[in-house]
């Protein structure tokens, strides 16, 4: 509670209010509200199908919610024009789960693309900016490689370098540690912390990796079946008594419905027979 009052006193950079989304009658997001403040790292946790990606795509302005509002730096993404949206987008850098690096371009060219396209800076300056960003993510030597020549961890780093190319206020990372070994994942956590400490960026990380979330996040939010069931510091989160949070923290399996449990049981029986 105390953190919430302190937080409310500060300005919210991203303000998500009552956002709901339904696909074909099924509610994927149900009245989600969340404030993210300047300079903090928020980890959005949740299992598969909890609505994490759906929320993320609304926050970065790829799609609009059915109802509710998303304010970024005072602009309502749900009600603004394409031109206003373009301005807001320049304040947000996104690193996608699949890295989404352009396969026909080298790492250098990938990181330079937003700078070249959205500014009129001269080539030497662009090269300087790209080198700084690649240095920051630890890929200073890999600039000439193509995405297919990179390892999984390097791809994520390259995607982050491209996301921060234009010094955005906000960086959104979708499952940065998915598919990486623990050592590489820990290295990425260090990098995410550096984005905040070194560049003063605000970071929203969507993840299902608890240890990573606890290591980097100032606050942790958890989605369950389209609703935000808890928001708090990692300590508060660990101490939460909410049954779904406990289940997630302790890694218990989801209780299947009776029908599918019956199916699973009969399948197992057949499998063993």
């Amino acid at each position: 509670m105390t953190t919430n009052t302190v937080a409310a006193a500060r300005e919210a950079l991203i303000s998500i209010r009552d956002v709901s989304v339904a696909y074909g009658g099924r509610r994927v997001l149900d009245g989600v509200s969340l404030d993210i403040h300047r300079g903090e790292i928020v980890a959005l946790l949740g299992g598969s199908g909890s609505g994490k990606t759906t929320l993320l795509r609304r926050v970065i302005g790829l799609e609009r919610p059915d109802s509710g509002s998303i304010m970024i730096g005072g602009v309502d993404l749900t009600a603004c024009s394409e031109a206003e949206l373009a301005v807001v987008r320049r304040k947000i850098g996104v690193a996608f789960q699949e890295s989404a690096l352009f396969s026909s371009l080298t790492v250098d060219e990938n990181a330079a693309l937003p700078i070249r396209e959205l500014t009129d800076l001269a080539d030497p300056i662009v090269a300087q900016m790209v080198w700084m960003k690649l240095k920051a993510v630890g890929l200073a030597d890999a600039g000439r490689l193509y995405p297919r020549e990179l390892s999984g961890g390097m791809k994520k780093r390259a995607a982050i370098a491209r996301a921060i190319a234009l010094d955005p206020d906000i960086v959104v990372l979708d499952e940065p540690s998915a598919g990486l070994d623990p050592i590489i994942a820990a290295g990425l956590d260090e990098l995410i912390l550096f984005l905040k400490r070194g560049f003063g960026m605000t970071v929203l990380v969507v993840t299902h990796a608890l240890d990573s979330a606890f290591r980097i996040a100032d606050r942790v939010a958890m989605l369950y079946q389209g609703s935000l069931i808890t928001v708090g510091t990692p300590a508060e989160f660990k101490a939460s008594t909410h049954v779904r949070v406990r289940q997630f923290v302790q890694g218990e399996p989801e209780r299947l419905s009776d029908a599918s449990e019956g199916f699973a049981a009969s399948f197992l029986k057949e499998f063993h027979a």
Partner: protein, 267 residues
Amino acid sequence: MIAAIGRTAISSAADVGTLTIQLWRSLLRLPTALPMVGRGRRWRTAVRQMMAIGVSALPVVALMSFCLGSVAALQAAAELRRYGATRYVVEFIAIAFTRELGAIITAIAVSGRSASAIAAEVSTMVVSQELDALRVMGLDPIEFTLAPKYLGALITLPCLTILSTFFGIAAGYCFLAASIDMTARVFVRDALASIMLRDVVLTLVKSLVFATIIVHVGYMEGLRVSGGPEAVGRGTTAAVVNATFLVILADLAATALFYILGWSAAG
């Protein structure tokens, strides 16, 4: 039954709508892929696309045209020989290729190579979120991915059509030189006499229409892909089948139009 027909009609109508919007937006963005007036180094992408769509299709188009030119010459000669009119094969081949065969052979070869390649490339970009990445950077995927391909096809298809026509007519010459010892001078004179500028221009216009169909159908089928790798395969197949079918349909429509307007009459 009626419901199935209705569903097909609705989805076809939706496809036509999608294609029209896509065509319009890409036409607006086309200048960005040009050198000088375009944005930055975007024209280099267009050049790469010309290589992929046009230049690398050169051998197959040339070979197909030469083979079909030979087939057409043999078939025509089989009939004309009975009247001692084998030398009119020249006119037959020249007219057939400048009016029709050059453009359609090129379009079918390119839709087999490039409609599938475009669909595969675009669907991979969808799956790997590259198009989303462009959008969140505030960049238009149409401008980045479709416009260079479209420009590349618009420039290379007419060139390939001319090349195809050349090879088809050359096949006719090889046949006539071998069978009735026709000299190159006579062949060229007869061929040039039967080629009309209007035919050439109309055929090149048709090839622009075919370029449009191939690129846009490939792109649309690529965007539509959702799901795993087998969906990519289905998408590429659909792209080739639909592009080829639409090319032939457009050919029929254009030829019928020219006929009604009286543009296809000789003399």
